[in-house]
Structure formats: C-alpha cells, structure tokens
C-alpha cells in the first residue's frame, strides 16, 4: 500500500505541473503587447498639388533616396518657358523672349493632357537649376550628375513621345539623374506622365524611357 502511494504522488505532481503550465500559458503576457508593423487599409489620398495651370511639377530626391513629385507655384505667365517668379535665387535663369505662343502656363487642362513644348522646356530648365531654398530646407536634392540649367536646348514633342535635347553628354548621366529628367519632362508634357521620353545629347541619344513614378489607382482598403 505504501509503495504505490509514494510512487503515485510525484506522478500527480508532474501532472499538476503540466496542467498548470497548459492553463497558465495563455495568461502569460498580461496587458498590452507590442506588435510588429501592421498594414491597415489605404493611405490618405488628397489633392496636394496646386492646379495644373499654376504650377510646374519637378522631380527631386528625398533624403531617403525617393523620387518625389515637387510642385513649384507659377503665379506669373510663362516667359520663355521659365516661370520667372519660381526661380528667384537663380540668376542663371534664361530670360529669353516675351510671353510666347504657349505663354499662359500651357494649354488648358481639357486638351488631352498634352502641354506645349515650351512649358516642358521651362520645367526641364527649372529642374536643372536645382531645388530652391525652401525645397533644399526640406532636404530635397538632385542627383549629382545632373548638369546645370543652361544645358537645356529644346524639346521635341510628338504623339506620346517627347525628346529632350540637352547640350551635354547624356551618356554620363546616372540612372537617378535620367529618372529626374524623364519624369519631369513626362509630367510636364502629359498630365499623368504617360509618355516615353528620349534624352538626346551632343554625342547621341538614349533609348526612350518612361517615368518610374506613375500614378496608381488608390487601394480601396
């Protein structure tokens, strides 16, 4: 009688320990636990950009290395494709000519999304001039291999194609620099940037490219 009793108790104890672990296990970790990052629905979507007639969309890199659309307000008429007020601290901005054929900020929005070559040239020139003071304060910058503002020569626009002619060697441009040029030209030429852009330099031309930053349908959730 003794022996089974003395042998039974440790077994009971083991069972008890097991059951307690099973039972108390779910309670381990009271209170609020940390989580990993959890995706929760769609992002915020708003109209952050000024109306198309009053701005030019440039593409700069954020400190994190992302290509961002940066609107720059144009409150005056185009003068030679360059909005004068947009580059107050850029003395090298060309001031060639009077408000021209495409003068008032390009065509109205209803014309199929295409804007004139002059405004595209103005956008590319503004891009090459680099970020302005407030943009630089926000940490926006151009790719180092992007040439100066004076190299923009002319824009040849076709149907869904844009040629940007530069007085520089386009082969030397790094991929980020090309992206900046391509995107700026594409969004200047088309509302949604849906054109292919060919960079033409002094030594030749690059294959046509499209802007990697394209508008996407907003996720429903």
């Amino acid at each position: 009688m003794r022996k089974p009793v003395s042998r039974g108790l440790p077994r009971t104890a083991r069972c008890a320990a097991l059951l307690l672990v099973l039972g108390v296990g779910p309670l381990a970790g009271c209170g609020i636990q940390e989580t990993a990052v959890v995706e929760a629905g769609r992002p915020a979507v708003a109209d952050l950009l000024p109306p198309r007639e009053g701005r030019v969309l440039l593409f700069f890199f954020s400190p994190d290395g992302e290509l961002l659309p940066v609107p720059r307000n144009v409150d005056a008429a185009w003068r030679g494709g360059v909005p004068a007020s947009s580059m107050p601290d850029d003395p090298s901005a060309p001031a060639d000519g009077t408000p021209g054929g495409n003068g008032l900020g390009g065509p109205p929005p209803g014309d199929g999304g295409m804007s004139g070559p002059l405004s595209t040239l103005a956008a590319v020139t503004a891009l090459l001039a680099g970020p302005d003071t407030s943009e630089r304060r926000a940490g926006l910058r151009s790719a180092p291999s992007l040439p100066g503002a004076s190299v923009a020569d002319r824009i040849d626009e076709g149907d869904l194609t844009v040629e940007v002619v530069l007085r520089a060697r386009v082969a030397r441009l790094s991929a980020p620099a090309r992206d900046q040029l391509v995107c700026t030209a594409a969004y200047a030429a088309h509302t949604k940037g849906a054109v292919s852009v060919t960079l033409v330099g002094q030594e030749g031309r690059l294959p046509p490219a499209e802007c990697p930053v394209r508008p996407v349908p907003v996720p429903a959730r």
Partner: protein
C-alpha cells in the same frame, strides 16, 4: 489512517486541479478574446479617423512649415478615440502638434513601411511600461481630380497613448482572477463530497477485512448502488461467504473425526474389559496347557493388554481434543510427587534422582504423574541407563529434566517426537508403547501452561525438559477452550 488521508488528499487535489485548469483556461481564453477585441476596435477606430482627418486637413504642396503646424493642430484636435499627437515628415522636414517635432516612440520600421508601402499602417509600442498606438499615414496626391494618385513623400504619424485600453485590460485581468478564485473555492465542496463518497466504502472494507482477520468470518459489507465500489463490496462478501463455508466444513470434518475416534474407543472399551477378564483367567491356567497353546494364550493376553492401553490413551487424547480434559490442581511438593511416581513403578533403583526439597507447586498430581512416568518409562525403554531425573527452579518455573545415557534421538526425529503415533525407530514399531505416550505427555504439560522440549544432551543421551509455572495453570486456565492448547503444541514443536 494515513492511507485514507492520502487518498482523500489526492482526490481533492485532482478535483481542484481539473477545476483550476478549466477555470484558468476559460478565463485566459476569454481574456485574450476580450483584449484582442478591445485593442482591435481602438486601433481600427484610430486608424480610420486619423485617415479621415488627414485627408480633410492635409496641407498642400509645396509645404509651408507654419501652415503645416496649424493643420497638424487641427488634426490633433479631432483625435478619436483618444488624444493623439500628430507628427509630419516630409523629406528632412519635421513638424508636430506637440512640443517636440520628432517623437521618440515612432520606430524606424514604421517609417520605412510608410515610405515604401502604399498603405496606412500601425504599430503598438511599449515604451517605459506604457503602451502607445503609433499610426503612419502616407499621403498620396492625385494628379488629376478624382483619378490616380502619386506618393507625395509626406507622411503623417499619430502617437496615441493607450492608457484607457490598459485600464480596461487590467480590469479584465481582475475580473478573470476574481471569477476563477471563487470558482476554485466552490469546486472544493464537490471535491470533498466525492472524496467522502469514495472513502466511505473503502473504510467499510478495511473494517470488514480487519474483523475477518480477527476471526469474525460472518462479516459482510452493505452494498449500495452499482458502481465499482459496490462491485468490490459484492466480491468481498462473496469471498467472505466462501471462506466461511470452507472453514465451517473443515471444522465440521475435524469435529466428526474426533468424535469418531472417541466413539470407537468407547465402543472398544467394553468388549476389551470383558476380554481382559477372560485373558487374566486363561493366563493363570496357562501353566496347565501344553507349551504351544500356553504361548499362544500368553500372546493373546499380552496383545489384549496392549490394546487396552491403546484404547485408554486414545480416549485420553480424545478428551484433550474435545477440550474435555480437566485439571484438578493441588499444591504439592514436587520432589514428593516425583518420588512417589518412581516408587509406584519400582523404578527407584534404576533411576538416579536429584530431588531438592521445598519446591511447592500447584499442579494436578495425577497428570504430573503421567508426565514423569511417560518420560522416565520412555528413557528406560528406548534410552540407556543410567536415567537421571532432576528438579530445579528458575524464574517462576519448575524445571523437570529426564536424561538417559542412550544413543540420543536422530536429528530428523526431533521435530516429530511429540506427534501422535510417531515412532523414532521403525525397528521399534512393535514396542510396548501405544505411540501416544509423548503426545499425551505434551498435552498434559500444556494443560498446566508449561512447555516441553526434547534435545540431545551435550554428553550424549536424550534430554527431555519440562517447565511448569509455580503458580499453577491459573493464568492459563482462564481460557481452557481457547486455541491455547493447539498453540502450546506448536510452540513445543518449534522449540524441540
């Protein structure tokens, strides 16, 4: 008692364990579900309302830091479900609705996710023991009204302390604990009841087994219900009944056998008495017969006498078996008693007697005479002379030793010396003894409450030692019908 306590303890512990496990598991699962629901609701509300407020109040690009801060104030003022602090990050620009432009709670992982994934996201962070819900809301901008959108690079973060949720969850824990502990206490009651219902039949079984061991073979257990305990009780009762029946049959058989022996001896006694009378007469006239007939007549006479002795011994043994032997105790001088026995049988010349005087003892003189006569006669017949009889006293007992100078007793014969009809030497089977002499001697000694043993003396020869208490058989006589006689016999054999 310890076994019963152990069983009860184990039953109660097992019961409580089961109750504890179920209570704790239920409480834990409920708690987890409730906590999860609580947190999910708070998070979903916060994320949805933060997105809504951001879409309503987000400043346009290019950012003006001053107006941006006012917009952040506006978003912070509409915090739901709890107050939050809003942080904005655009490039290297940092702004917030609080005192510091950058939060210490936001993790790098959340920032990275906000910049790379086109989704809102949240992360629960515990910092300094306080839980925060941090929400990252990347802002996308439409390029045309109502159409597709581009990532703008602007990310708004909300940091919301989850103080209320912590309070609610603590309340949940308290509720779970307060529910589980009384549950355990309540479970103690059925545990004790169950233990009692199991232990009661066990105790009854133990008592019954004890009483059976004590000789109460008619012990039975009341059988209740149809459970395993009832089965056990039924089995116990059946076994007890069978045991009782077997024992009763054995007893009856023993009684029948003894009565038969007694009856046979009684029946033989009367014709034998007649035969003895005839043989006495014939014996006297044997001289006048021719030698052949005379020898035959003497043989008949001798054997008839031996048969008479055998019948007397059988009747004596039957009386012992039937516990009908009576002790007529008297206070006598031991030396006198022995001397009269020896002289009565004309042995005084053949036996060396060492009989110190003054040993007064209570005993039945007739039975003591039988004991001494049997032992001395045995020694004279089977042992070798000289035979010594010595009396001594030690520790309240009278010691009577009878020693012969013969070859002693064979070792294998020693344990059976006092058995009935046991003959140590097969060659002596035709001796004058009935084969019951030593058995009757032992019964007589036991009747006095004494012991008898036989051994081979160191100097050769057999030595029989009888020890009788001086106070007489009084202490032993109190239970003349008890098993003392049989036990005394066993003891004798064990010591011999």
């Amino acid at each position: 008692m310890t076994a019963a306590f152990g069983l009860r303890t184990r039953l109660v512990i097992a019961f409580l364990l089961v109750a504890a496990v179920s209570a704790v598991t239920t409480a834990a699962l409920t708690y987890r579900e409730a906590r999860s629901a609580l947190l999910v609701r708070a998070q979903d509300t916060a994320v949805a309302s933060f997105r809504e407020e951001v879409e309503q109040f987000v400043p346009g690009l290019p950012l003006d830091p001053e107006s941006l801060r006012w917009d952040l104030y506006a978003i912070a003022a509409r915090a739901k479900p709890h107050p939050w602090i809003v942080f904005a990050e655009y490039g290297s620009l940092r702004a917030s609705s609080g005192d510091r432009p950058v939060s210490g709670v936001l993790t790098a992982e959340l920032r990275r996710t906000a910049l790379t994934s086109p989704h809102g996201s949240f992360e629960r962070v515990v910092k300094d023991g306080k839980a925060y819900l941090t929400i990252a809301m990347p802002v996308m901008t439409r390029v045309v009204a109502g159409g597709d959108a581009l990532p703008s690079g602007l990310v708004l973060f909300a940091v919301m302390p989850m103080t209320n949720e912590e309070g609610d969850i603590d309340a949940l824990v308290t509720a779970a604990r307060d529910g589980a502990l009384p549950g355990l206490a309540v479970a103690l009651v059925p545990a004790l009841l169950a233990a009692r219902s199991v232990l009661r039949p066990v105790r009854a079984l133990r008592r019954a087994a004890q009483s059976m061991g004590g000789g109460q073979l008619d012990t039975r257990i009341p059988v209740h219900g149809r459970d395993e305990m009832a089965d056990l009780a039924r089995t116990f009762n059946d076994s007890a009944a069978r045991l009782e029946r077997s024992v009763q049959e054995l007893r009856d058989a023993g009684v029948r056998a003894r009565r038969f022996a007694s009856d046979v001896s009684h029946e033989l006694r009367t014709p034998l008495a007649g035969m003895l009378a005839v043989t006495d007469v014939v014996d006297e006239d044997a001289g006048t017969l021719d030698p052949e007939t005379a020898r035959a007549v003497r043989l008949i006479s001798l054997e008839t006498g031996r048969l008479a002795v055998l019948v007397e011994d059988l009747m004596e043994i039957s009386r012992f078996d039937a516990r009908a032997a009576e002790l007529v105790a008297d206070e006598v001088d031991a030396a006198e008693a022995v001397r009269s026995t020896l002289s009565g049988r004309q042995w005084l010349g053949r036996v060396r007697a060492e009989l110190p005087g003054g040993l007064r003892i209570r005993l039945d003189p007739r039975r003591f005479d039988v004991v001494v006569a049997n032992l001395v006669g045995n020694a004279l017949r089977h042992g070798g002379e000289p035979v010594t009889v010595r009396l001594s006293a030690r520790e309240g007992v009278l010691i009577t030793e009878v020693r012969d100078s013969g070859p002693g007793i064979a070792a294998e014969a020693l344990p059976h010396l006092f058995d009935r009809f046991y003959k140590a030497d097969a060659a002596r089977s035709r001796s004058s003894g009935s084969g019951l002499g030593l058995a009757i001697t032992a019964e007589n000694v036991h009747l006095h409450g004494g012991t008898i043993r036989a051994e081979n003396a160191p100097g050769g020869g057999a030595l029989f030692t009888v020890e009788l208490p001086f106070e007489g058989p009084a202490s032993w006589c109190g239970a003349p019908d008890g098993p003392g006689s049989a036990r005394g016999g066993d003891r004798t054999e064990a010591t011999s």
